[in-house]
Amino acid sequence: MKQELKQSRYSRQMLFTPIGEEGQKRLGQSRVLIVGMGALGTVLANHMVRAGVGHVRFIDRDFVEPSNLQRQMLFDEQDAAQSLPKAIAAERKLKQINSEIHIEGIVGDLTAANIDQVAHEVDLILDGTDNFQTRFLMNDYAFKHGIPYVYGGVVAARGMQATFIPGETPCLRCLIDEGQGTGETCDTSGVIAPVVDIIASYQATEALKLLVGKKEAVRSTLLSFDLWHGFSHDIKLRQPKTGCLTCQKKEYPALEIKEEGQITSLCGRETVQITPSVKRDWDLKEWKKRLEKVGKVELTPFLLRADIDDLRLVLFTDGRVLVQGTEDVTRAKAVYARYIGM
């Protein structure tokens, strides 16, 4: 019956001439990595999975909380009630949407130590993170391995998007100096969901162009706009920065594995994350026994929560700890040192 063909899953996408049957086949043979499964990440994953990208891999270090529901479109109240890791909750939802492709969620933090393994053989990297530290890591990896890195960022009603392609465009490091604060965060300025959707949808579009082999259609600008106040810029990216450590000198500084553990203040979360330099394999039941002496603790299959004083510690099996209720890195370190040990 002719009807069956017309009703096939990707028919409307194949009718779009620049994709067509050939492009659809290419999508099915593609592999992408999405780093971060928060606001941008959930929209990106939704697009890649519905479009029929053959292998969609993602990594996220966080779990679902009620304040995520306003904008993180794959999560519902149950996910928040169960404090599911975002990579797990997203994988469940996405598999209900498309069972014909490979969907692979990883609970963890992308670091210089694991990026070779996590980004192994992907065709491009989609940015769903909330910090420039991880962005420089993705950027340096992408330029070292000759794959595109698709940047997106949002705060308040503002968004930015650019696609960095080794050998064709400048890189993120040409535009922004590492190590400088970024001013506004979701914690000070908030964020509205539509700007998230729009930026991630621009990222998804550029990814589709690359995956179906239409590199010439990729927008070679940094798009920057404010959805509420109504300004918009499309800034041309022409020359790499003279002496850029990533795309000119090819030193890729973000890929150097540092000895000390990493400490990050998470965007908009009143949370400090402490990652050990060497991956641990923690027995959370042991930690439960230890910490229930000093506070109220709760163990789920994926993490351990401990309320101590006015703070909450969240422990993961890989040795990561979130200190919630403060943005003061020193205080977080102190609490960590006291209850977990440096």
Binding site: L40, R158, M160, C174, L175, D177, Q180, D226, F231, K241
Partner: protein, 79 residues
Amino acid sequence: MINVLLFAGIREKAGRDTIRCERKGITVGELKLWLAETYPELADDMKRVMIAVNEEFADDSTVLKDGDQVAVIPPVSGG
């Protein structure tokens, strides 16, 4: 004359959306220094902003011409 357009938090801090700079033959780096000195409330931001000259990305060494439109845009890190 160089016309400097401000956006986002920077616009709010400065309380205005444009600044005119009459200095001649300066680079983008020098313009940022001039802005930081002339408007101390923007000094911190000038360390991390991105600069577009006539809708094209520019680094600190870019030399500005009379009549250039300079957009000062803070990078966006959330997600």
